[in-house]
Symmetry: C2
């Protein structure tokens, strides 16, 4: 076949499980991914239901083609593509690869330089909705499995793929799915590639995610809106009371004031603190990127520490009274706010809900009644960097990026499926991301660099081999 | 004509200028008012423009009929009905009667027992939109003038009527109208009957109204909404900052915290305090009427004192971030609130605006920018009860309700036209109201009791005679 050998940027690496991948292999992989990206699988739009099915079937066929036993499994919403292939090594550990084939909507559509579902490669990047989030990253694994099988006639691990179609709408049917198919999904470790490395060229293992406790506060004063002239000064104002409550939740520097909230916060190890301080991160660039002059936050912690390892409390929304144009002199009957805490180990949403409720009940708020309503919670997740699974991933990244230090980071957000897998399948979850922070995942002109795609394919090979060493 | 003499509830009154009014006269007055009430003169609805004109023409014709020189004067919005008749006494003072022929919209329409523009008399009450606010009260004056002229062939005062069509939409064109027609409107005293007496059967003179300073606060954090996971803990939250600002404006007991706000507040005289404490007012009934358990307010002042004679600050509205269903983890870019102070003599909106601006600018709010925008202001108004005009009104009410103590009250609201008249025409304004507090002025089933209507006609006669004594 005259296959040109790929120049891998592997420096001194002596062995690469993917060294047989040619330029033509990669060009074929690009062309296939573009085909998948052409299917507008927007999960939130009912009119895209047929496209959702097409996208699932496309992946299903591909997985069958590379030698997996694949099936499309129904849920109450969009289907799940599940595929499986066993290693010939009887003692091989089982890895569950999770990803999603659904994509975000495309608005603002007029800001796209080329149409979101007419993928184009320019300047070494694939521009298309879903390119980095998450079809491109899923397909890096699919091609890695294909090439590995081609060149080695076997996989070093048992592989299960669970590629869902509802990640972009909050995975409403994934927990029941995992519960129903618990046995089918049994595994030793879960791998997810659905985010971004810390910076271009920085191999990254994300070891932690924050949890979430999301609630609403509803304050009621009089039974209906009153005239502020006829009642102002005599009847309590629920917006004032709500502002008062909010002021007891946190201060302007981000310190949470709810008693007990910090009790179960695990301190960041000095090792982690030091490692994070060496990451290529500039607080002033970060401030500039969101057009603010200052980054107020909990004193004594760096921005990354605050984002990754400290609980925070945000008021996500507030409303009450007159919000239209002009001056309506109403004394409102009601005011409401949405509030959420990001949690870190070893906080739990249940514990936080109890503390919040107790705290708000203890406030003296004459003339109003207050209701606190919890909407949902998510557990914080941490895979200790010293654990066998994390060490395997770190070794794989070190081999894929020889000479580069692997960034051990955390994420400030919450990916509920991570906690679901950890809890329901009792398996550690490795977040090995192949995208870049500025890929524009949910915005216009979403992109995935060819370098990320191709490195992802190769990194996956190292990862499978290192995970094979888990016992 | 065999006119049955009216039984006036005048106790020991020796003289009544309206004693010639018969039952049939009153029945005719009722029927005429019903006719006017049938015209749906809703000023805020463009599709009612023709009805607005009809309502103005109806009144214009009526005023011509009773012997006034009437005209319909254009404004940039709905027309003003202006009518005039001089007394034969050359030295007679001039009284300007102000009222309005426009009415509120009717929603919620399905709560009306009989349709809002199909007036019905039941249980001694006229049910119709506009019955008490303000067609009924205006018509009490029209009929009083008609009967007085019929029985006395002259009026004791020069009378000007200014009945506008935009009161329910904030009288946007009245100030320019008054400026343009300043000479035409020259008068010694203004009389307005467009509210309610303190309680049924309690003759009332309202001597004061609160002023207003209405502003918006806009707080900006980052340049756009951010993800609370990726930025929460590092970037300021504008809702938190807004809540913090609000907490520095007033406390939960209604005490205003803005430095200097109380500096120019005129103390309530002990005479007024005592008079108000004797009014038939129950704080617990008041609380029950709005379904609250407590009436938090500035310590050391009764509810009526707080409503009438103390400045208050209300948050009229607030908004920011996510307000929909469910849990969106946004760190909002913006938050806003509408805030207004009710002012009392000798505060001015300008002074308060300066204090608010200075105060908010002095706050330390890291990571956000704050804009304060004043929407409008209104001067507080007070006609000293000891003034000649007020004393004339009190004497009139004492004669109309012999044996009853006249309630000298104030209003907690703001009627901007009152300050306009006071300032532009340099005349005291007497608020002599004929309605009742539970007439439901802006709600469904608005009503005006026949007793109020008929007493209003008679009280007006006394009022004209007493005002004739002003020099």
């Amino acid at each position: 076949m005259g296959r040109a050998r790929l120049k891998l940027n592997l420096g001194a690496a002596l062995y690469c499980p993917m060294s047989n991948i040619s330029e033509i292999d990669l060009q074929t992989a690009d062309a296939e991914l573009l085909e998948w990206l052409r299917i507008p699988s927007i999960s939130t739009l009912p009119e895209r239901k047929a496209d959702m099915n097409r996208a699932a079937e496309w992946l299903h066929a591909k997985l069958e083609h590379i030698g997996f036993k694949s099936e499309i499994l129904e849920t109450a919403g969009h289907s799940v593509v599940f595929a499986e292939r066993k290693s010939k090594t009887p003692s091989a550990p089982t890895v569950l690869l999770y990803g999603h084939y659904d994509v975000q909507p495309v608005d603002p559509e007029n800001e796209w330089i080329t149409p979101p579902f007419e993928p184009e490669i320019r300047d070494g990047q694939i521009f298309a909705r879903g390119s980095t989030d998450d079809k491109g990253q899923v397909y890096a694994h699919v091609k890695a499995l294909e090439f590995y099988l081609r060149d080695h006639r076997d996989l070093p691990i048992n592989v299960k793929l669970l590629i869902e179609g509802e990640e972009e709408i909050g995975s409403p049917n994934l927990t029941p799915f995992v519960e129903v198919h618990k046995q089918k999904l049994e595994c030793d470790v879960v791998v997810i590639s659905d985010g971004s490395m810390f910076a271009p060229g920085v191999p990254t293992l994300t070891t932690g995610l924050r949890g979430l406790a999301y609630f609403e506060i509803h304050v009621q004063g009089a039974f209906k809106d009153l005239h502020s002239g006829g009642f102002g000064g005599a009847v309590a104002n629920p917006i004032q009371a709500l502002a008062q409550i909010i002021q007891t939740l946190r201060d302007g520097n981000g310190k949470i004031l709810i008693p007990g909230v910090y009790d179960n916060v695990r301190e960041v190890s000095s090792l982690e603190r030091e490692a994070w301080s060496k990451l290529p991160f500039s607080e002033s660039e970060f401030a500039k990127s969101v057009h603010v002059g200052e980054l107020p936050g909990e004193p004594g912690f760096s921005v990354l520490e605050r984002l990754w390892a400290r609980p925070t409390l945000e008021i996500n929304g507030i409303w009450g009274g007159f919000q239209g144009e002009g001056a309506k002199t109403v004394l409102p009957a009601k005011a409401s706010a949405k509030v959420s805490l990001r949690l870190v180990p070893d906080q739990t949403p249940e514990e936080i809900a109890a503390l919040v409720t107790k705290h708000i009940s203890s406030l003296e708020l004459p003339g109003v009644t207050v209701e606190v309503k919890f909407l949902h919670g998510g557990m914080p997740v941490l895979v200790e960097a010293s654990s066998a699974a994390a060490q395997a991933a770190i070794r794989a990244l070190e081999q894929a990026y020889p000479g580069k230090e692997v960034a051990i980071t955390r994420g400030g957000g919450t990916i509920p499926v991570v906690a679901t897998f950890k809890e329901k399948l009792n398996a550690p979850v490795l977040l090995v991301d192949y995208g870049l922070p500025d890929d524009g995942a949910h915005g216009p002109n979403e992109r995935f660099t060819l370098e990320c795609f191709h490195s992802g394919i190769k990194t996956s090979g190292f990862l499978y081999e290192e995970l094979a060493k888990l016992t």
